[in-house]
Amino acid sequence: MPKYEAVVILMQQSFNDVTMLFPQSISEEQLQNIPATKPFADDTVAFLHALSQELNKDPLVRSFPDVATFAFFCRRANILQIKERYSNDDLIRLGRGIAFHIAPSNVPVNFAYSLLCGLLSGNVNVVRVPSKDFEQVSIISKAIARIAPAHQECASRIVLIRYERTSQATSAFSALCDVRIIWGGDETIAQIRKSAIPARSFDVCFADRYSVCAINAANYISDNKYEALAQGFYNDTYLFDQNACTAPHLVLWIGSESDVAKAKTLFWSALHAIVKQKYGAVQPVIAVDKLTALYNQAVQNEGVHQVSTEDNLLWRVAIDELQPRIEDFRCSSGYFTEYNATALDDLKKVINRKYQTLAYYGFDKSELTEFVLSSGLKGIDRIVPIGRTTDFSVVWDGYDLLYSLTRVCSIL
């Protein structure tokens, strides 16, 4: 087919500006000839387990908790547990073929989870890793390369590449993929969608999302877990510069005025202590961004007050009223809007389909279930305790990634 010939040429050309992280080289023909597998294929599970062990051997991993978490996720026990959840599915499933993953540029390890889903569902995976040179990416891709010789079949279903936006590679791989997974938000999605995919292929897109946090002030005070929670909240936010879709931007305080006042002081000072110790210096442009964000918010909404903090690492903005479109006023790297609420129900005023994660502390499951069921919310796909917003799950953003990446064959 002439179309494919064109792709081959395009790919050969584009290899000039594409860095192969794994394997060293690949041709389109090779890619097309690798068969898809069934979900949770034995060689895949064995490969992931080996990857987990290989990563744990790497002393560098200790300084990257996100890589350690990924390694933990890849353990055979965990994978089999996930498999177990699908055991009631008696349909005949196979990977769709070539899955082309475009990983987000702001979360170093996300590409690995995307790959994991692609492998577990039985696909051949071409993964574009972040163009930024994250050390986590290098640690994981090198570990894959080391175990590949002993796991040739599964490793043949992995291609890790890096290229700049200007490259033609997106068009080339889009033209031959069976499914395309686009992380990175609205703008990236719009950009990537300019490259056509074959008629039967489709996109799984992760759009811009906004996340919030709700804290029951009285329980927060009485439980006395200030430091652990601050650490958890730090991981939820600062670990990815408050730039991941899961990172809360709005903090809702629920309780009496005096409890809330006390809880706020405890919470933010515990967080600030950790930020000061772990986060590093404030980038000048971020300091300017935060001030710009505050003034923008103040012009467009009523009752916006900066709460003075010690430095530009942590910014707090109190609002007198929860107004719709509060999600427009976010900033990265430690800019929090907070509101004193009477009940979780207040969230109804702002939540729309852009809302993804609700991080919480001090509520029990029945309260949360009741809230979700009674409120008829358009958004919020996950409700997780503070500290666990970035925990990966194969059900993400309302998609079951494993099912989405397979095709069903019916036999009568």
Binding site: A281, V282, Q283, A287, V288, L294, N296, H305, Q306, E310
Partner: protein
């Protein structure tokens, strides 16, 4: 003190104590003025708890990031009062700053620029070579930073010639004739740093032509961003120009469309100087506290001129270093400093950068 009285003060004649007193009272009043006349500004000030009744040291006054002028229409006069809208030169598709000038602010800008520049080149009008193309200023409805710069400096010229044609090519013959005609007289040259380098210096080198401009004074501005990649520093720039045209007086300046008029001129020692009418404060990114002498930080600029728009206290997206105050070897009082460059990853703005991106 009225602004007209302040503008009569020689630009580099007040020491720290005198200047602080003057700026604190004038700029506090300007903050109040904008608080009362610009609703978005009032909202911003309310969000940081600004007390309009209090007297401030000028370093305590809130500052607005310059980006806000791209996001909002910020003015402290009625629409009908606006006589000029200045825009920053952004790349196409990028939001541009819009600065609204009424008659008064526009005229104080011109007066101030005259005061500052004439303290360097004298009050007499002299033949002027503009190292740019006339097309930039032809459309007077569009006051781009580049056009405004040229027009602002043009008032120092008795006879003016544009050295570049509409294709940005050097009019060599005309230029040679002009230099010949005013031989022995002081000639004033003006242009944007990158343009001067790209279309004047390089072209003369390419053609192997030397001009005698030993009597000329060149004032140039717009930033070094595009020249850094060619490893052209301020010293190299001066030397290279001297090599092709014998020029001895070359002054860089730092300024921005958001505070037209109060520019920061480079002195004979290569330092940028704050005049009486404006000041710079170098702030730490960590907490916006004031940086020490010699310490790099974000540049805040304050100017007494912006009355029709709330631009009297601004946080730029540039980094700089304060070198000293009242003790520059050139004898000028006030702060002197240097520019380090744009904040990393900041939006691309600046006078000649739009043009330079084509190269």
């Amino acid at each position: 003190m009225e602004i007209t009285e302040i503008l009569d003060i020689p630009p580099y004649s007040l020491n720290k104590t005198e200047k602080t007193k003057l700026l604190s009272s004038y700029l506090t009043n300007l903050s109040r003025h904008h608080y009362e006349h610009c609703v978005p500004y009032k909202k911003m000030m309310d969000s940081v708890g600004f007390d309009s009744g209090r007297d401030f040291h000028y370093s305590e006054l809130p500052f607005l990031p310059v980006r806000l002028f791209k996001m909002f229409e910020l003015r402290s006069v009625a629409k009908e009062e606006v006589v000029k809208t200045m825009t920053s030169s952004g790349t196409s598709g990028q939001a541009v700053s819009r600065i609204f000038l009424d008659k008064e602010t526009s005229s104080t800008q011109t007066r101030t620029l005259t005061k500052i520049v004439s303290s360097f080149i004298g009050t007499q009008r002299v033949p002027m070579i503009i190292l740019d193309s006339e097309t930039v200023v032809k459309d007077r409805n569009l006051f781009s930073a580049r056009g405004a710069g040229i027009l602002g400096f043009s008032m120092f010229g008795s006879k003016r010639m544009y050295a570049l044609n509409e294709n940005m090519e050097l009019n060599v013959e005309q230029l040679q004739a002009f230099v010949e005609q005013y031989k022995g007289e002081r000639i004033f040259m003006f242009g944007f740093t990158f343009m001067v380098y790209q279309h004047f210096y390089k072209e003369l080198v390419r053609l192997g032509i030397k001009l005698d401009l030993s009597n000329a004074v060149l004032i140039h501005g717009g930033g070094w961003k595009k020249l850094i990649s060619e490893a052209v520093t301020s010293d190299v720039f001066r030397k290279k120009l001297h090599d092709v045209c014998g020029i001895q007086h070359v002054y860089d300046y730092y300024g921005m469309v958001e505070q037209t008029g109060t520019i920061y001129m480079e002195c004979e020692c290569g330092h940028l100087h704050a005049p009486v009418f404006s000041d710079v404060i170098i702030r730490r990114a960590h907490d916006f506290s004031i940086a020490d002498v010699g310490e790099k930080g974000i540049i805040q600029v304050l100017s007494i001129l912006p009355k029709s728009y709330p631009g009297h206290s601004l946080l730029t997206e540039d980094e700089g270093i304060l070198l000293g105050e009242d003790d520059c070897a050139c004898g000028r009082l006030g702060k002197y400093f240097k520019i380090v460059g744009r904040l990393k990853n900041a939006e691309i703005r600046g006078c000649s950068d739009t043009y330079a991106t084509k190269f």
